[in-house]
């Protein structure tokens, strides 16, 4: 099973109690895993069609009617999301695991970093508009300078349900040591849309987070390498398709930003976005460099040989995901308005580097795993996507009632 993006990094390491943090691992039958993680995600950069880093939002040009360019409002938002993610996994059989992930956005913060590039000389003013000039005038027209956004406090995002099924080993797979699994997940529409009237705001839906689909289907193939009965290395691939459903939004009427966001007269009361789907492929390399002390504790039924089959103390992994992102399409009464948005969401790709580290205390008698995961989408330039980097810290409690 693979949940994107932040859930994914958690789940990837979750299944490591019986193997490394791969994409084919399932829980032993009757086993529960409770996972709690804190995630901090930052987005500053949008990759354009030429793989050049840009601000997340295009500058807004303002014109003095008959006087040329008044100036450009530059916007370089810094977007911060903080999450608490609770996940529960259950091994229905040794080959089938079901899961539910409940992400809660504890805070979204956007500093728009509004700036100004002066435009043409204005003879009526005797100078070009300065930033102060513009906002002073705009304020008199009811248009306040947008401030930072600080919201979505403890707001539910889209809940994710999923399952992974480890495929029966064919003879050729057994001979080659390969393991395969399929996984599927769906996101329930429990997230919150942003206030349509706000220029600087964000929501908590899968589209706002823009990293895991409303539905995903995965196929993973891995080759674990055992040493003394324990998986000490693993390489694998994961291919998946992510689907985003179309969603309909209220069109801004300009109630809060009359100069900058009066769209409804020509866009219509609502508009629809059909987000571009994802087709992705990942490669993953994992190693367990440190087995750690192994004790015959209660968890192993007092048997050392059983404890020695527990996951190593330290596992690290590195992965790379290439995801092709399809065109996102806007539908409204205005083709012009649609295009102004669509041109920022042309087909492109995300190129994600992931680094994980897990510490498993099972060998020492504690049914607990601690992990950290880092994901970066700026190291490898993407195209027509917003790059989000995240850092996660989490802990898992493994329970079996038998």
């Amino acid at each position: 099973m693979k949940l994107r993006p932040w859930l994914a990094v958690l789940l990837a390491s979750l299944w490591s109690q019986s193997a490394l943090a791969g994409n084919t691992t399932t829980l032993p039958a009757g086993t529960f895993v409770l996972d709690q993680a804190y995630i901090n995600a930052v987005t500053d950069v949008r990759w354009d069609d030429n793989r050049k880093a840009r601000g997340l939002i295009e500058g807004i040009q303002r014109y003095e009617p008959g006087g040329g360019l008044q100036g450009t409002i530059t916007v370089k938002p810094h977007v911060l999301y903080e999450f608490q993610v609770s996940q529960l996994f259950y091994g229905v059989t040794d080959n089938l695991t079901l899961a539910i992930g409940v992400p809660v956005v504890t805070r979204s913060y956007i500093d728009a970093h509004l700036g100004w590039v002066s435009g043409d000389y204005q003879s009526g003013l005797g100078r070009s508009y300065s930033e102060q000039d513009f906002w002073q005038w705009a304020k008199s027209m009811g248009q306040k300078k947008p401030g930072a956004f600080d919201g979505n406090h403890n707001t539910l995002a889209d809940i994710v349900l999923g399952g992974r099924y480890k495929l029966p080993n064919a003879l050729w797979m057994e001979k080659s040591g390969l393991v395969a699994a399929i996984a599927a997940q769906v996101a329930l529409p429990t997230g919150k849309d942003p206030d349509p009237e706000e220029l600087v705001a964000t929501g908590t839906t899968a589209w706002d987070l823009n990293n895991y689909g409303d539905a995903e289907l995965h196929f993973a193939l891995e080759r674990p390498f055992h040493y003394q009965g324990v998986v000490r290395a693993n390489v694998g691939i994961d291919m998946y398709y992510g689907y985003f459903r179309p969603r309909t939004y209220q069109t801004p009427r300009g109630t809060k930003n009359p100069l900058l966001m009066t769209y409804s007269p020509y866009v219509g009361d609502t508009y629809t976005i059909d987000p571009g789907d994802l087709i992705a492929g990942s490669v993953l390399v994992e190693v367990a460099p440190l087995l750690g002390p192994t004790w015959a504790t209660w968890l192993a039924g007092g048997k050392l040989e059983k404890a020695e089959r527990f996951p190593p103390l330290l596992q690290v992994s590195a992965g790379f995901t290439y995801a092709h992102v399809g065109q996102s399409t806007w539908r409204s009464q205005s083709a012009l308005w649609n295009w102004d948005r669509e041109k920022l969401f042309l087909p492109g790709d995300k190129d994600t580097v992931k680094l994980n580290a897990d510490i498993s205390l099972l060998r020492m008698g504690l049914p607990l795993q601690l992990y950290t995961a880092y994901r970066n989408q700026e190291w490898v330039p993407g195209r027509n996507i917003r790059a989000s980097n995240s850092l996660a810290f989490g802990a898992r409690l493994i329970l079996k009632f038998w």
Binding site: S123, L125, G126, R127, W137, P265, Y266, P275, Q327, P347
Partner: protein, 616 residues
């Protein structure tokens, strides 16, 4: 959506082929472009022009107190003003155009009053803008005196100011200084110094003084510049500021010397945000150093291209010896109000009316006219604005002042007459020749200052300058052709008004023949001709001269490509407010339109041709 193919941008422009009655054509227009009409209204008016106009309320209401009323408050001033003006203009619009606009409204779902405003705001706004800009300039520091400090002017044997007298007392002193399309003084020595006297009742801000000599800038603190407050003693001393410039290097020999002066008042205007002082427009003048020319009118006050201004609209008509094949050609580039949105709403309209010739023009969504066009009879026209106070809004204020029941407090800024676009439509629907077009233009009550350039398939070209004739002083609008032998076609020096040869005419946005468009004392206001106050005057003068040079350089070689090259020449197009460009070939009823980009001339010139009338 999985598709990996990218969305495509919308077409650069729409093409409408409209047929039937006026209402039917309007209905087709409205149905096809419903979204764009709504978009254009919102982005051009609701969120752009109307908010900007609103800030002028305080300045206008200071004089016309009816606009201080509650009905014009809460940001409603500009919309109410444009609607009232539209309703007034509607009275002069022929029924067939009203029907067409009703069709647009019904087809698009846009209220008729909004369609009417879209089709008339151009005329309404220009009149209001002229008045507010004039009032602002009256409140700004005035350049009262310009003096060339060179004793030799009194003994050089040259009539430096072309007043018919030589070496008279004060020959180097322009007092009062008057803006001019030509040089202010000629024959000045290379070591001349300059003095400017600025005056403002509230005081002139010495720190704001900006003098340019060619491309060299001098500001307060420049060693070459000396600023002296010479007003009455005490607090009033800053009401008159003397600015002396000693050029650090000798002036070029036998060459034009371009200068400009600018300064702001001390008083800060706070009721029309942002806070700002009133600022004198960049007052530009030209001097000729000794040996260049002997008369001021021989030297154009062209100035230098700067980063502060953009070229205005231009147009030119050619025929005979000016073109390679001898056939007529009319080219136009209109710039004024793109505001980041006009170019997205451009439409090529091709009309096939039930009766009369087919015609076509480049226009905009929801607007039933264009500022140039051609009909199947081979008549083409292009029109530019020409800033003037001789407009209906001033006319109404004047009438109100002399009406004891109304007075200044009851005066309204309402336009009247036939909006310029409908004058153009009248020409396209009726004219078979340039002469007929000229007659139709001259018969129309004008809403503002306009310059119409007309060319027909026979090669007749004519330029008509009009204003609203609020004093009744004009028997007819001023018109002229390139023919210097025909009465009225030359200035007082015997030179064609707007031709460099026998077969060309050109225009920018300043009057030539109607240069003295209005002089009127209206209570405390001394209304003056456009050259004294409009912000377009100097840029128009420069563009007119540059265009003249370009036409001269290509004389006899003009074809479509040469015309395009001239329209794309740096210094002849506005980088920000370019709206559309078109070249017409009346003999073949062809229009080549460049539109949908800014500047419009960056777009390809796409060809459209009308069928010959007999083919209809």
């Amino acid at each position: 959506m999985l598709a990996s193919c990218a969305s495509e941008p919308p077409a650069r422009y729409e093409v409408l082929r409209l047929s039937g009655t006026p209402y039917q054509r309007g209905l087709q227009h409205g149905k096809k472009l419903s979204s764009k009409i709504k978009s254009f209204y919102t982005t051009m008016l609701a969120t752009s022009l109307l908010p900007y106009l609103n800030r002028e309320r305080a300045g206008i209401a200071a004089y016309l107190t009816s606009y201080a009323g509650e009905a014009y408050g809460n940001g409603q001033f500009s919309l109410k003003l444009l609607r009232e003006s539209a309703v007034e203009l509607e009275k002069s619009i022929p029924q067939r155009y009203l029907d067409e606009m009703h069709g647009v409204a019904d087809g698009s779902g846009v209220p008729y009053i909004d369609v009417l405003v879209l089709n008339t705001f151009f005329d309404s706004v220009l009149g209001a803008r002229a008045i507010t800009y004039f009032l602002q300039q009256m409140d700004a520091p005035q350049l009262k005196v310009v003096e060339v400090l060179a004793p030799i002017l009194l003994s050089d044997g040259i009539d430096n100011n072309s007043d018919g007298k030589t070496d008279e007392s004060g020959e180097g002193r322009l007092d009062p200084y008057q803006s001019s399309a030509t040089a202010s003084l000629v024959g000045i020595p290379l070591d001349a110094h300059f003095r400017f006297v600025l005056q403002n009742p509230q005081g002139v801000d010495a720190k704001s003084v900006r003098v340019m000599l060619g491309t060299q800038l001098f500001t307060a603190g420049s060693p070459a510049l000396t600023l002296t407050a010479i007003g009455p003693p005490g607090e009033q001393s800053q009401t008159v500021l003397q600015v002396d410039l000693v050029p650090p290097t000798p002036l070029p020999a036998a060459a034009p010397v371009s200068m400009s002066v600018q300064a702001s008042g001390i008083k800060i205007i706070t009721d029309t945000p942002p806070d700002h002082p009133r600022t004198l427009r960049n007052e530009q003048m030209t001097f000729g150093t000794a040996g260049l020319v002997s008369q001021t009118f021989e030297l154009v006050n062209r100035g230098v291209q700067d980063s502060r201004t953009q070229p205005p609209s231009i147009g030119f008509a050619l025929r005979g010896t000016a073109t390679k094949n001898g056939k007529p050609l009319l080219a136009h580039h209109f710039s004024l109000l793109d505001a980041g949105t006009s170019h997205k709403h451009t439409v090529i309209q091709i009309h096939h009316p039930e009766s009369g010739p087919d015609f076509m023009f480049p226009g905009w969504a929801g607007i039933v006219w264009g500022l140039s066009g051609i009909n199947a009879q081979g008549v083409s026209f292009a029109v530019n604005m020409s800033d003037t106070l001789n407009n209906p809004l001033v006319g109404r204020v004047k009438a109100a002042l002399f009406d004891p029941d109304v007075g200044l407090e009851g005066a309204r800024l309402l336009s009247s007459g036939l909006p310029v676009g409908f004058v153009g439509r009248t020409v396209l629907e009726n004219a078979k020749t340039s002469a007929e077009a000229q007659a139709q233009i001259q018969a129309a009550a004008q809403t503002f200052g306009w310059m119409y350039l007309v060319a027909d398939k026979a090669g007749d070209i004519v330029l008509v300058e009009t204003n609203s004739n609020i004093l009744g002083a004009l028997d007819a609008p001023a018109s002229y052709t390139p023919d210097p032998d025909q009465a009225g076609n030359t200035d007082s020096h015997g030179r064609p008004w707007a031709s460099v040869g026998p077969d060309d005419l050109r225009m920018s946005v300043q009057f030539r023949k109607l240069a003295d468009d209005l002089t009127l004392n209206l209570v405390a206001f001394k209304l003056k001709p456009q050259r004294f106050w409009t912000s377009y005057f100097f840029t128009a003068n420069r563009a007119f001269a540059t265009l003249g040079d370009a036409i001269s350089a290509n004389y006899g070689q003009f074809d479509i490509q040469r015309a395009i090259t001239v329209l794309r020449q740096d210094g002849l197009y506005d980088h920000n407010d370019s709206m559309n460009a078109a070249i017409y070939e009346p003999a073949t009823r062809t229009m080549r339109a460049a539109t949908g980009l800014v500047p419009a001339t960056a777009a390809p010139f796409d060809a459209f041709q009308l069928a010959a009338p007999e083919a209809k």
